[in-house]
Structure formats: structure tokens, C-alpha cells
């Protein structure tokens, strides 16, 4: 018996499968997937440490660095506005994430637990809001931002990012609150606790994993946001990393690939590091929002 599949494996009978067959059906395809999925990161790293002469050579083996250099990072950090973009991205992402998270906790609790009149409809509206793509919204939103006098400020981004963060976080937290038993709240009500006490002393401590999931996901969403940041901001001092790298590091016909890749690498690192610490939370946030 050499056939095997998910079922046998999960029953711990994978050893029945012959090794060569396992290589062809499992390890080899998986290896190909991994190489393709990770190659751009490898390539980013290699390019950002290569001197220009090596980048523009077709002769040398491009997969390795012969004379590593920090010149591109030096140029990026000392001779461009990159540090400022980084700072803007951090401020905008952190503030937008915490604002959205706070608003979402109240909204999710109200919809899921207070069950006020119209709660069901509101829950549905929140889900529909989640489906509105930024590419449809950015033109009218630009005029709103302009009328409010927020154009070209960090506030333009801090106030517009919640349009996709709040629906996502609320939807996720609604699912999370649903798993907390009602009895806990009833006990507290009988003991004379107010709704506010119930929320802060019972629900929130129990919902910490859900809050982390929503927060991590919201943070990466704001870090990765592009179209709003491209449209609502035009001065270099208020740009975010993705927009700054795309609009300002590309000058004329000569592409400074080393600096571009260094910028892409540094801009990806914060989310990658954060993600590596909270993988489980991130995955449960992503799949949780889809599974509901």
C-alpha cells in the first residue's frame, strides 16, 4: 500500500508511503513553491548589498555578492527623505490602528452583546463596508479630504485608514466576542456590575488574543496602504515608505536599483519582524475574517 493522502497522514500513517514517492509528490513541489515565493526577498537582499558595477554586469554570477557594500543604505538613510517616510509610516499606522481598534471594540460589543434595536442590520452594514474597495473610494474621498483642509497632512491618512480598518476589526471582534459565554456577563449583571465594568473587567481581558489578531492585521494593512497615501499626500515630508520609494527614489531614466531594493527591504522588515512574533495571531485574524 503506497497510496497516501491527508487522511492517512493525519492518522499518523504517513510512514506507509515510500520515500521516493513522497519526494516526488510532496517535497519537490513544496520546494519549488518555496523557491518561487521567497526568491524576490533573496533578490532584494542581494541587490541592496551589491556595488553598482556588479549590478550592471551580465558576466558575473548574479546570485552572489562578490564585494558587499553598504553604499546603498548609506545613500538611502543620509541623502534621501527615507527616515522621514519611515517615521510617518510608523505614526500613521500606529495611530490609525489604535483608533480603529478602540472604535471597533465598542461597536463589536454593542452589535454582538447589547443587541440594540437594529444591531443585526448594523452588523450587515459593517460587513458590506468591508467589501468597499479603496480604488472605488479614493476620488470622492480626495475631495472630502481637500474640503476639510486635511490635504497633504498626516491626518488625511490617519482619518481615512479607519474606513477599511474599522469594518475589518469590528467583524473580527464580533466573531471573537461570540465565543465568550453569555453566562459570565449574566453573573456579573446579577452581582450589580454595570455594562462598562463588564466590558472592561470581563470581556476585554478574555478577548486579548482577538485584540492582538485584529491589531496586528490592522497594523500591516495600514503599513501596506498605497492608493490613499499616493493621492492624499504630495510633499516629501509627509509621504509613507511605499509611496516615497515609488515616487521619489525613481529619478529619470537611471534606476538606482541598489537604493531601491534597500528601500524595499527596509520598508518590509518592520512588518515582517512584527509578523514573525505574532504569526499565529495574524493567521487566525486572516482566516477568522474569511471563515465567518
Amino acid at each position: 500500500m503506497t497510496v497516501s493522502g491527508p487522511a492517512e497522514d493525519s492518522r499518523g500513517m504517513g510512514y506507509l508511503e515510500s520515500l521516493p514517492r513522497r519526494w516526488v509528490t510532496l517535497y519537490l513541489p513544496l520546494l519549488c513553491f518555496l523557491i518561487v515565493l521567497l526568491f524576490p526577498f533573496y533578490w532584494m537582499t542581494m541587490t541592496s548589498f551589491k556595488p553598482d558595477a556588479e549590478l550592471m554586469s551580465r558576466e558575473a554570477n548574479p546570485f552572489w555578492i562578490h564585494n558587499p557594500t553598504f553604499a546603498h543604505f548609506e545613500k538611502l538613510l543620509l541623502h534621501t527623505s527615507y527616515p522621514e517616510w519611515m517615521w510617518n509610516t510608523i505614526i500613521v499606522s500606529v495611530v490609525a490602528t489604535f483608533t480603529s481598534l478602540a472604535a471597533s471594540v465598542f461597536a463589536a460589543y454593542a452589535i454582538e452583546r447589547l443587541r440594540f434595536r437594529g444591531a443585526k442590520g448594523t452588523g450587515m452594514a459593517i460587513f458590506l463596508a468591508y467589501l468597499v474597495p479603496p480604488s472605488i473610494l479614493f476620488i470622492p474621498l480626495a475631495t472630502v479630504v481637500f474640503q476639510m483642509g486635511l490635504f497633504d497632512t498626516r491626518w488625511a491618512l490617519i482619518l481615512t485608514y479607519p474606513t477599511f480598518l474599522i469594518p475589518f476589526c469590528t467583524w473580527l471582534l464580533m466573531g471573537y466576542f461570540r465565543t465568550i459565554p453569555y453566562e459570565l456577563e449574566e453573573c456579573a449583571l446579577i452581582d450589580g456590575a454595570t455594562r462598562w465594568q463588564i466590558l472592561t473587567k470581563i470581556i476585554l481581558p478574555l478577548a486579548v488574543p482577538g485584540l492582538i489578531s485584529a491589531g496586528i492585521f490592522a497594523f500591516t494593512l495600514s503599513w501596506n496602504e498605497f492608493i490613499y497615501a499616493l493621492t492624499f499626500v504630495s510633499s516629501s515630508e509627509v509621504k509613507t515608505v511605499p509611496v516615497g520609494v515609488v515616487t521619489e527614489l525613481v529619478e529619470g531614466d537611471v534606476y538606482h536599483w541598489g537604493a531601491l531594493m534597500a528601500g524595499a527591504l527596509l520598508g518590509s522588515l518592520p512588518v515582517a519582524i512584527l509578523y514573525s512574533f505574532f504569526v499565529e495571531y495574524y493567521v487566525s485574524g486572516m482566516t477568522g475574517a474569511v471563515k465567518e
Partner: protein, 299 residues
């Protein structure tokens, strides 16, 4: 104070206030405004006047707008199909008994979490006409003689941008489907094995039906994101060469923001809505969770 705090309607309203205020001002109002702008001749710095369906009429007669519709549909269909096939395959691979499973799952998702604009720049470099590493490899292997101009020719550019989109989307599809696979009870496979089902039959008659609801949701999201994609195209080609990769989103940006023609841009953006609605309704009514999949009787 006490009666107010115990009235669930009043308290519910108070709790909804921050979220509702932000969403009404920055989501609902702009959505309505966008619809209105689509029927006006607004330009940047000049409020528009109602001009009826002129914008939509001129877009209909505009060959570039029609090309962008074709490009968007082509991009969405091909990328979604490939993402689904590869994503399902990767999910099935990751669902098997593996060493370092958690670690593998974590690094597989990397393309999805880094900013798309930044990974798109990496692809731009990988697709470079003169120094592409892919071309270098193929030349050294003796498969081609001249370097490929990945983003220079219309069809080549279409497939190159689709490949970059697939690269980013496969991890999302795979990890979500993997979560679905893990909820399928092993007893179903045992029962199928006892009945003498082959591997293919187990996949076709157990895995696939059990996975349908989550496939529907994941692919709806995937189609939604692909159809409205903006940043990948903006970074890689800006719609070129010969507008071959202009999507509706990039064209509406170009018309509205650098072009200053807010009304026409808004009309083009609004024209995406019916397609999105159709995709959502299709998945909702066509592929929804059926009662028997939750253990109930078939209606």
C-alpha cells in the same frame, strides 16, 4: 446615569458612535459623493455641474476605457484561476505530515504581508529588460538567446503583471484553504477508505464538497482584490506598454488625479461596482454553505 447605562438601545447607540461617525463621514458620504461626481463634469478645483450620463456615454465610446475593461477582466480571470489552482495545491501539500510545518506555513505567507508596492519594485527589477535575473538564467541554460522584454510588449507585460499578482495572492488563498482543510474530520476519509475510494475520489467527493463554502468566500475576496488592483500595475507599468496593462482602477486614477478630471474618473471607478456586486452575489447565492454540509438535512 444608571438607567441610561442599562438601556441597551441608548448604550448601544453610544457605543456605536465613534465607529459610525468615522464610517459615515469617510465611507458612506464619499460613496454617495462618488456616485454624484460620476454624473458631473467636476474637475480639480472646480465644483461640477450635473451632466447626466454624459460621462458614462463618453466612456462607452472611449476605446481606452473599453480596453481597460478588457484588461481588468482578463487580469482578474486568469490571475484568480491560477491563484485558486496553485493555492489549493499548496494548501493540500501543507496539510500533509511535514517536518517544521508551523515554520513552513509562516514563511509561505511572507509575500502576502510585505507591502505590495515594495515587492512590486522587486519584480520590476526582476523583469528589467537589460539585467533581468530570469533572462540571465535562461540564457545560461541555453533556452533563449536574447533577453526577454518582460514589460515592453503588450501580451508579455500582461502575463508578467499577472505572474506578480499570483505570487502575492497564492499565499493568502493557500493559508485560508489550509484552515478550511484542517476542519474536515478525518472520520470522513476513514469512511471513504473503507468504501474503497481512491485518492482522487476522496478529493473529489470529500475534500472538495466540504471545502466549497470556504472556497467561495476566499475566492470572492481574491476576485474583489484582483479586480480593483491598483498598486501593482501603478508600480510595474503605469498602464503601459500601449495601455496594454491599464486596469479600470489605474485608468480612473490617471484621469482623475494627474488628469484633473474628477467626474470622468469617478464614473470609471463607479463602473467597477456592478462587476463587484455580481461577483459577491454569485458567491452568495451560487456557492453558499448548504445545509447538509453543516450536518442538517438537504432542503
Amino acid at each position: 446615569m444608571r438607567p441610561f447605562l442599562d438601556n441597551r438601545n441608548a448604550l448601544g447607540l453610544a457605543f456605536m458612535l465613534p465607529a459610525a461617525a468615522l464610517l459615515l463621514v469617510f465611507l458612506t458620504y464619499p460613496l454617495g459623493l462618488g456616485l454624484w461626481l460620476g454624473f458631473t463634469d467636476a474637475r480639480i478645483g472646480r465644483p461640477g455641474h450635473w451632466i447626466g450620463i454624459d460621462n458614462f456615454e463618453s466612456l462607452f465610446g472611449d476605446s481606452l476605457a473599453r480596453l481597460s475593461l478588457f484588461n481588468t477582466l482578463f487580469y482578474t480571470v486568469i490571475a484568480s484561476v491560477v491563484k485558486f489552482a496553485l493555492g489549493l495545491w499548496l494548501a493540500l501539500l501543507l496539510n500533509r505530515h511535514l517536518p517544521f510545518k508551523a515554520f513552513l506555513r509562516a514563511i509561505v505567507l511572507l509575500p502576502f504581508i510585505v507591502p505590495t508596492a515594495l515587492s512590486a519594485i522587486a519584480f520590476w527589477w526582476i523583469y528589467d529588460a537589460q539585467f533581468s535575473v530570469v533572462s540571465w538564467l535562461l540564457v545560461k541554460m541555453g533556452l533563449i538567446d536574447t533577453y526577454i522584454d518582460f514589460l515592453g510588449e503588450p501580451w508579455m507585460a500582461r502575463f508578467s503583471t499577472i505572474a506578480a499578482n499570483v505570487w502575492r495572492g497564492v499565499p493568502f488563498v493557500a493559508i485560508c484553504l489550509l484552515a478550511g482543510l484542517q476542519t474536515i474530520s478525518p472520520t470522513l476519509y476513514e469512511a471513504a477508505a473503507l468504501d474503497g475510494a481512491t485518492e482522487w475520489q476522496k478529493f473529489r467527493h470529500v475534500t472538495l464538497p466540504m471545502l466549497t463554502p470556504i472556497i467561495a468566500v476566499v475566492m470572492t475576496f481574491s476576485v474583489l482584490f484582483t479586480f480593483t488592483d491598483f498598486q501593482l500595475i501603478y508600480v510595474l507599468t503605469r498602464g503601459g506598454p500601449l495601455n496594454a496593462t491599464h486596469l479600470m482602477a489605474t485608468l480612473s486614477f490617471q484621469r482623475a488625479i494627474p488628469g484633473g478630471n474628477l467626474g470622468e474618473g469617478a464614473a470609471l471607478a463607479m463602473a467597477m461596482a456592478p462587476f463587484l456586486l455580481a461577483a459577491i452575489l454569485f458567491s452568495y447565492f451560487g456557492l453558499q454553505r448548504r445545509a447538509w454540509q453543516q450536518g442538517g438535512g438537504d432542503k
